[in-house]
């Protein structure tokens, strides 16, 4: 049925345009939101892998 619907549309030339518009809308939205993110939160997130306690059991035993 979906293919029937699409067939009734003349050509598929609008496809690339729609995709580009969609992408840029999503992209700009994300960039704007990301710029406005809170600094404290960003710092918290960045340090998350370093923060976990997976090395407590054996810290100081590595050369790396």
């Amino acid at each position: 049925m979906l293919s029937q619907m699409l067939k009734s549309v003349t050509g598929l030339e609008f496809y690339p345009t729609v995709s580009l518009v969609l992408f840029f809308a999503a992209f700009v939205f994300t960039v704007v939101k990301v710029i406005r993110l809170d600094r404290g939160y960003l710092k918290y997130m960045k340090e998350m892998p370093l923060d976990s306690n997976d090395e407590t059991a054996n810290s100081g035993r590595f050369t790396e």
Binding site: L6, L12, Y15, P16, V18, T30, D38, K46, P49, D54
Partner: protein, 721 residues
């Protein structure tokens, strides 16, 4: 706030780590054997199971799904527990996942070696194994999401997003590309045919690279690189932007594998545009990785882990710049079907996947075994021999690819092909194949050093099977939700909601997926039908199955591009309408030998017989392996009616009840071939696989000759060079 204690499961990490090394060595060894056969075809030892056309899929599947797959699971199981501050959801599911995946790998190796294949690249496995993959993948998904749901850390770190995107998209790709109609327990036909099959396959093939070789590894980079460097990632903002841009764009770029093919022009252009756009998010990831080391580059002097990781990220940057360049039509006209592509993928596979895997293994194994690495010197030696191995592997193949591509297109001043014999262009690059094998050997030696080093490390240490940890319970703190109501905290909100995150990720990949796939389904009506193109005869259909089983597509294309250099060499360029009965399509992606789309009626049957028995007897200097077993093996006539019925189900217009006459027709046609051969002094059984294969080859590309065609010089476009 209540502090909870729990244990991280390191056993499953160890298991996947060991499997990574074992299958890595197997996959690389098979790769080396394939590389050697490129100039010493007799190294197939005269048997089918070790012949290039069968081991090439074993190599690719082993490296992608066994080596990279196990490494991905190892790293995910390690990092997910720690990022979620929770043990895996179910130790039993972890076990089922692990053993299920290993069984699938074994089944894949056995079936591919036996010639049981669907022939769709990186999705060659037959339907029972496809179902097993789906089940194990869902088990893995339940385990992963179960862990995420019971996490003690409200926010999901960027690595976890990449894992989620990986799971969602691979599920989608695997299901859509593997829809097959079973004929018997180990034989099926894809429901798609020809152009449609090609589009679905390369939508899959491209995104398997994206979501099996790239997104999980970016997640791993985001976790393990900061760990190894002991510094946070350069920019969390950048990671958000590049994540969404990457998963949104990647899925669109599949058609760049089909440039200048019978695919409609607009779809090719769409693939090119999105491929070029991909540079931005790809490099966003690379720069985020490399800039993490800003101010700490001196650590590279002492840390072999960081050395591996930096080369990996750099290789990622190089491969993701090269990929878009290769999808520009002018470049692709030269590069496609040549060794350039092989060089390109190995920069990614050896550099990005291989070196990141090694780096993580060197970091991780000593940690969970509570010891130091057995030998730092061995690790450093591994780094250098592996690094040089990548260069010695890739450089000669770039040289070979460009050389051969140019030779194919070279004309004399009089307008004839300068190298009309394809073999001339192969012999020219044989020295490059030898050097490439040396490079592959070096890389393998490095991997062996790694395996020994890790094995010794495991032996000297003791696995911390259950690693005690503690974290405050995740309470539903109403204050925590304030952020979600502020517009600027949108992503912060999203990171707390795995289900919403999963849905949004699915939407992002689905938009590209739908826009690329929907035309695929309506394309059937867009394919100009060619009245003279008829279904294969039963014998030809059986011959086609032999062609598929032997993996002829690994070296021969069936896609003549609309260039004068190709129409001069092979004949009329390929039309979409010629492939409507091809389940699966056999366009191929590499020409180690010439294109075969117009091979039909070009040579007598006796030529084909002699060529398959001893290729050098017909083409002195040929590097094609011998296929003497085809004259001995018999086709299974019991299965022929079922195959005809399957084709009818798929829409191939055989007459009603034709399945009952098929075997008689098959034997009648076979007899005409074997009688002809007997006149040339060759005895071949009517039901030999070779008889069927000859019938198929003689049919290839001949239908179109039944109607008047415009001359090639009028229709061929310029080479784009």
């Amino acid at each position: 706030m209540a502090i909870e204690t729990f244990n991280y499961d390191n056993r499953i990490v160890r298991d996947f780590g060991v499997a990574t090394m074992v299958w890595g060595l197997v996959g690389m060894l098979v790769g080396l054997l394939a590389a050697l056969q490129m100039f010493l075809p007799e190294l197939n030892f005269g048997i089918p199971y070790t012949t290039f056309s069968r081991i090439r899929p074993i190599h690719t599947n082993a490296v992608i799904f066994a080596f990279v797959g196990n490494a991905m699971f190892m790293a995910m199981y390690y990092s997910l527990q720690r990022l979620c501050k929770a043990p895996m959801f179910s130790a039993l599911l972890s076990k089922i996942h692990f053993w299920g995946w290993q069984l699938i790998i074994v089944a894949a190796a056995v079936t591919l070696a036996s010639g049981i294949t669907v022939s769709k690249e990186y999705a060659e496995l037959e339907w029972p194994i496809d179902i097993a993959i789906a089940i194990v993948w869902i088990v893995f998904g339940i385990n992963m999401f179960g862990t995420i749901f019971k996490r003690r850390e409200r926010h999901m770190y960027v690595a976890v997003w990449f894992y989620i995107a990986t799971w969602v998209t691979i599920t989608l790709l695997h299901v859509v590309n593997s829809i097959e109609l079973p004929v018997s327990f180990l034989k099926s036909y894809p429901v798609y045919a020809g152009l449609q099959d090609a589009l679905v396959q390369w939508w899959y093939g491209h995104n398997a690279v994206a979501f099996f070789l790239t997104t999980p590894y970016l997640g791993m980079m985001y976790y393990f690189l900061p760990k190894a460097a002991d510094r946070p990632i350069f920019s969390y903002r950048l990671s958000i932007v590049h994540f969404w841009a990457l998963i949104f764009i990647y899925i669109w770029a599949g058609p760049h594998h089909l440039l200048y093919s019978s695919l409609p022009d607009w779809a090719q252009s769409l693939g090119t545009v999105f491929s070029i756009m991909l540079i931005a998010p790809s490099w966003g990831g690379m720069l985020n990785g490399l800039l993490t080391l800003r101010g700490a580059w001196d650590k590279l002097r002492t840390s072999y882990v960081l050395k591996f990781m930096v080369v990996a990220v750099t290789a990622y940057g190089m491969a993701t710049f090269e990929g878009p360049m290769l999808s520009i039509k002018g470049v692709n006209a030269l590069s496609h079907f040549t060794d350039w592509t092989i060089a390109h993928v190995h920069v990614g596979a050896l550099g990005w996947n291989g070196f990141l895997t090694f780096g993580i293994l060197y970091w991780l194994i000593p940690r969970i075994f509570r010891t130091k690495l057995y030998s730092d010197r061995m690790a450093n030696a591994h780094f250098w021999i592996g690094f040089l191995g990548i260069i010695v592997y890739a450089l000669p193949l770039y040289f070979a690819g460009i050389t051969q591509g140019l030779m194919w297109k070279q004309f004399t001043p009089e307008g004839f092909l300068l190298y009309p014999n394809f073999l001339e262009t192969v012999i020219q690059i044989l020295p490059m194949y030898i050097i490439r094998a040396v490079g592959g050997f070096m890389f393998l030696v490095g991997a062996i050093l790694c395996a020994i080093n890790l094995f010794k490390t495991m032996k000297q240490g003791e696995l911390l099977a259950l690693e005690a940890a503690e974290a405050p319970a995740l309470e539903d703190n109403p204050d925590d939700h304030v952020g979600s109501k502020e517009p600027s905290q949108w992503h912060r909100w999203l990171e707390r909601k795995p289900v919403q995150f999963l849905l949004l990720t699915t939407v992002a990949v689905a938009i590209g997926g739908i826009i690329e796939i929907v035309p695929t389904f309506i394309i059937k009506s867009n394919i100009p039908t060619i009245a003279s193109v008829k279904p294969y005869t039963p014998l030809e259909l059986e011959g086609r199955d032999v062609y598929v089983a032997e993996g002829c597509y690994t070296c021969h294309s069936q896609m003549i591009r609309p260039f004068r250099s190709e129409t001069e060499r092979y004949g009329e360029y390929s039309k979409a309408g010629e492939f409507v009965y091809d389940h699966p399509f056999q366009w191929g992606s590499k020409r180690t030998g010439p294109d075969l789309h117009r091979i039909g009626k070009k040579y007598p049957d006796a030529w084909h017989y002699s060529h398959m028995m001893e290729p050098t007897s017909m083409s002195p200097g040929s590097i094609m392996p011998r296929y003497p077993w085809l004259a001995e093996n018999k086709i299974d006539l019991q299965l022929t009616p079922a195959k005809i019925r399957a084709m009818q189900t798929l829409g191939v217009p055989y007459a009603e009840g034709y399945d009952q006459e098929a075997v008689d027709h098959l034997l009648f046609q076979a007899r005409s071939i074997t009688d002809g051969l007997r006149n040339s002094g060759i005895e071949l059984a009517d039901d030999a696989e070779l008889t069927a294969l000859i019938a198929y080859l003689q049919r290839l590309g001949t239908d179109i000759k039944a109607i008047p065609q415009p001359t090639t010089t009028e229709t061929a476009v310029s080479d784009g060079m």
